[in-house]
Symmetry: C2
Subunit: 347 residues, 2 copies
Amino acid sequence: MKNAHKKIGKQTVKLDNPPKIICTTSIVGPKEGDGPLKDYFDIILSDDTNGKETFEKAETSMMYTAIKETIEKAGLNEEDIDYLFAGDLLNQLASSSFAARDINIPFVGLYGACSTMAESIGLASLIMDGGYAENVIAATSSHFSAAERQFRFPLEYGSQRSEVAQWTVTGAGAMLLTHSGNSPAVTYVTTGLVKDYGIKDASNMGAAMAPAAVDTIYRHFQDTGRTPQDYDIIATGDLGLVGKEITSKLLLEYGYDIRDVYVDCGSVIYDNERQKTNSGASGCGCSAVVTCGYFYKKMLKGEIKRLLLVSTGALMSTTTSLQGESIPGIAHAVAIEYDGKLPCGSD
Amino acid sequence: MKNAHKKIGKQTVKLDNPPKIICTTSIVGPKEGDGPLKDYFDIILSDDTNGKETFEKAETSMMYTAIKETIEKAGLNEEDIDYLFAGDLLNQLASSSFAARDINIPFVGLYGACSTMAESIGLASLIMDGGYAENVIAATSSHFSAAERQFRFPLEYGSQRSEVAQWTVTGAGAMLLTHSGNSPAVTYVTTGLVKDYGIKDASNMGAAMAPAAVDTIYRHFQDTGRTPQDYDIIATGDLGLVGKEITSKLLLEYGYDIRDVYVDCGSVIYDNERQKTNSGASGCGCSAVVTCGYFYKKMLKGEIKRLLLVSTGALMSTTTSLQGESIPGIAHAVAIEYDGKLPCGSD
């Protein structure tokens, strides 16, 4: 009996019934809305508290709105959605859990640090492909000010930022996967291994995550037989300028030159010099809003046909760092493809 | 086209190819090993630091050992396992992530607070049933001392415990799901909604989680057409004495009398009076070790044929509590059934 017939290679699944991403919503804060990708985001907040009394509640409200908007745009109701796969950076997934409290959809909480967007799309796609759902929402969020005080220092301290530090994206992205429609579809899911090469500097997450990104991209190529030339864009989540450089170089050593098609979401969302974001962006929200906003809309316009999204997560906590541990990284990849006509939400 | 043909009702999937739980491992600390279920645990630590320098590293080591032991008992290697679904209570899933760092298996991090064991078994079962894997590990852990200082106060403060407080289980449980073999099998997966009835007392988690347990159990009966009489045991995760009482009563109001078959894992793992554990146990590890130890071994002996495991999670963080939020709860359920002969690991 061939039970795991849908697995190709050790870490990759090829989807027989690629679920379609029929709608997405991207919400960002004012800083992201002032960056190079501003024209691609659906909602730009004028105030990063979004009218709430705390940054954490602001993040929850962004997550909630991203999910609700996506369902509404598709002309569906909460009752039509089988599962919500979501996660975020806040301790105990506070943003996702508190958003899910007000949404009547079976909820599966996920944590992969900043790899969570690809993790949620990947799991959602397997559940869709397997016939367990008609409609699934995958969503993540992050918030600069909430992340700073949880992982580093309260903003009030005015701490100096390291040259290799990254700026957590204030934003939330949600996508709706369904079976029918003519939309970008998820075709492959490559699940990552945890990799730790001993980096201990929590302000240099790009370097900590790069080995995981390299491993997952390499494994994706090995499992699928694809090469960098099969993709218009290969996008890591939030390695920033430092981690991007490492990833390109290491993959070259493994025989894959991805430089022509390589974009790091964390390196394109800000104008790093003007916006003083040092090594670029990070956060679950980073690959979420760049994918739900920028990439998705480029795909609808036919400007990207094949995207490999490789969201990347640094799995440390403040406790593990204080206890002298290094930073494990993980990367999950999903291939999204579209060569067709206009689905819902396009012009 | 009937795409979601495996879904019955709004929240439940009936598995066409019920994955078999061929091996489990339960590891507990000294207190759990001194309780009423001591004869059912595989490994009892004589020291709750497990020889490590911090409680967090002790928890990671328990999670690691539970996973490795389970794979070894089945006569398999890490390379044979397609996915590791795991989560824990520590911020950023430190226990799972750091255990996974030393284990060469594609890792999917989950967070459902103390509902994580049923969440991981449920997702693992869907992935198995769908043909995406030959072998999957589902695992969770918790540690009393690590949880106390993260969620409440460092032990050194000597804080008084509330009468309704629960004692976080020091323990880890892992199970291996596969396709063949004659073992207890996962037959139904009911995914929960987040429910919040306004409880704000973080030392009264049983009351906060009870509405979610009630909702998921009720939904399971509605979706499947089953009744309490179809189960030998219906087990909530860690509602403790207070939450258990609420759950029984509320379900009675909905027309289901589960009292004859109702066990709460958190109410049976300690001798609450002698061990001074007040309202009982809690923690991801609670339903994990009670299921991987006690229930699983009772099933192998034919003493339980049908189990409905309903792990229950309280989704607050210290930040949300300090910000005046109430405590959302969630419960996920899996049905595990066995009427057969002896699989691996039995006498």
